[in-house]
Amino acid sequence: MTNQEILSVLAEAAGNPKKQLHHHLSQGRKVVALAPVYAPEELIHSQGFVPMGAWGADLELQEAKAFFPAFICSITQSIVELGIRGAYEGIHAMVIPTLCDSLKVLTQNWKHAVPSIPLIVTSYPQNRGIPAAQDYLKSGFVQISEKLEELGGTPFSEEALAKSIDLYNRHRKAMRELSSTLGKHPRISARQRSDIFKSAHFMRKEDHLELVEGLIEGLSDQESGGLPHRKEDGPASRTRVITTGILADHPRLLNILDETGFHLVADDLAHESRQYRTDAPTGGAPLDALVERFCKQQHCSVLFDPGKGRASYLADLATRENARGVIYFMTKFCDPEEFDLVPVKRNCDAAGIPFLSIEVDRQMSNFSQARTALETFKEMIEQRRM
């Protein structure tokens, strides 16, 4: 496949999660949906399910309003809205972690709003650095495994889990490699980059891995990646930036990033690269490896981090990737991200890295302010060059 063909397949998958779900079901596969932010995907995969991300959608909230006050993030609200409207019919379970207050609320609302789809709650320890956290998490994973078996999954097997971990580690490695490859390819648009990451939540990891590996190979072949110039301007004038936040996948927002002339050279979005930063160790007991992986994860707003290491992580990432600025996509009413905003901004200011925060949510209809802010940010960065 050419790069362009791979990108079209990924864009198609990213834009049609429902079609992906029906495809999986038509192949006789069992599907489990995963609410943000993290889930023991390898375990679910090893017991014969296709894990599919469920991060909500950009749609008008109607039914969900009966379950949430207005100040709860619209990602969680839109998950319930989709559930009530039947978008998830056919899946075997919805897995919701209790990683933030909105998600805790979501677990209870899901039970009432969508009784036809069983709920699996995953509880994570706050203080991940102590042995008790590992024991707690492991017992939680065992319960999930039992629940999966009740729902028609294959019984837990160390061998199967080790295989799934291996697949997911390979996929994570490929996604990291792809991200750094994309940093060298300004011809890949923000929209295409988002499609690559988004499609990973909907496709089988086996299939996604194959396409991503193909793309890495194709892009390394030639400087241009065999891709046409972007019509808006010459790639040389694109401004290298990194993005951070929970998610930024609205096509109009991504188009504005492209039209304004940004090149996303790396990201720290929960929906994108945060999923792939940490591998599970191999060699030991596979369930322990999954536990260890979670406990090792860092620099994420929903994971307890008293030192707020994310702030220096981002400044380092920007420097390493030669980025000229940091764009913080602030999901409206997401308190974990709001808490991190201040230290991240302060750190960028201190390091002399231009910083912009833009409020986003799953209910955006007017993008003119975002456009003005992004254009101004680009102009501000360019002025510094003069």
Binding site: N366, S368, T372, E375, T376, M380, Q383, M386
Partner: protein, 260 residues
């Protein structure tokens, strides 16, 4: 060389004409913004006032909310960049600029060289903008331009606690029903805009010298309240409404010279 800047806002169009990037030849304003013939009228007025014809203008730059809707422009630049440039032109050494326009409010930090180093926009809401003042003036049967004069005569300030324009409207009506003096209410309204914008400014950081731009800058009531709230003097120029247009003309001059 003549450069022309046109600032197309939500409710007004403003323009400025510069000679050689350092002399203001003319300014013009029409109370008609996006989607009207305001921008064309402003350009016509600039040409008339300066006794020039279109062919003599070397470069035209559009800015403001409607910047993409003016096809004659050679460049389109965001209003924040232009306001910063315009403010620095009028007040060299300026470090903070607060721009309150018809639809939104912005705070810009500038470095010592007049380059923008940080900015913040208010969150898609009419509170703390010219729109808020227009709505309030309407309820009180005043024109927005009369608010400052009324506020100056207030004996005390009647605080408006709602930040949302719609809620503030009912609050003002209930104060009126309770017989609160209109002048005190107007002072409260000006203070409400000032605190709202002032907290936005505090998010960016307030480094003096500080100036205001945009139509609301003309309102002494808001300016005074903002100055008290932030504890700094606020520089004011009668050209405050033209900073965007001036900055656009300046941007055009500088960019043209760089590129040619």
């Amino acid at each position: 060389m003549y450069s022309l800047g046109i600032d197309i806002g939500s409710t007004t169009s403003k323009g400025a004409l510069l000679a050689d990037g350092n002399r203001i030849v003319a300014t013009a304003l029409r109370n008609a913004g996006i989607g009207t013939d305001g921008p064309e009228e402003v350009v016509k007025e600039l040409l008339r006032a300066s006794d020039l014809d279109e062919g003599q203008i070397g470069v035209t730059v559009s800015t403001g909310y409607g910047r993409t809707l003016y096809p004659e422009a050679h460049y389109r630049v965001s209003e924040l960049t232009c306001h910063a440039l315009g403010a620095h032109f009028i007040f060299p050494g300026i470090r903070t600029l607060i721009d309150i326009g018809g639809q939104d409010a912005k705070v810009i930090s500038l470095d010592g060289a007049g380059r923008m180093s940080n900015f913040q926009m208010n969150d898609k809401c009419a509170a703390g903008t010219g729109r808020f003042l227009d709505v309030m003036a309407g309820i009180l049967q005043l024109r927005a331009g009369d608010l400052a004069g009324e506020a100056a005569l207030a004996e005390s300030i009647c605080p408006i606690s709602s930040t949302c324009t719609v809620f503030a409207e009912s609050e003002v009506i209930s104060h009126l029903a309770q017989g609160v003096n209109r002048k005190d209410l107007v002072a409260g309204i000006c203070e409400s805009v000032a605190t709202r914008t002032g907290s936005l400014a505090k998010r960016v950081g307030v480094t003096p010298p500080l100036a205001m731009s945009g139509g609301v800058a003309l309102n002494e009531g808001v300016r005074g309240a903002l100055s008290r709230y932030l504890g700094v003097e606020i520089l004011f120029s009668p050209l405050a409404q033209f900073f965007g247009g001036l900055g656009a003309a300046l941007y055009g001059y500088q960019t043209y010279n760089k590129e040619n």
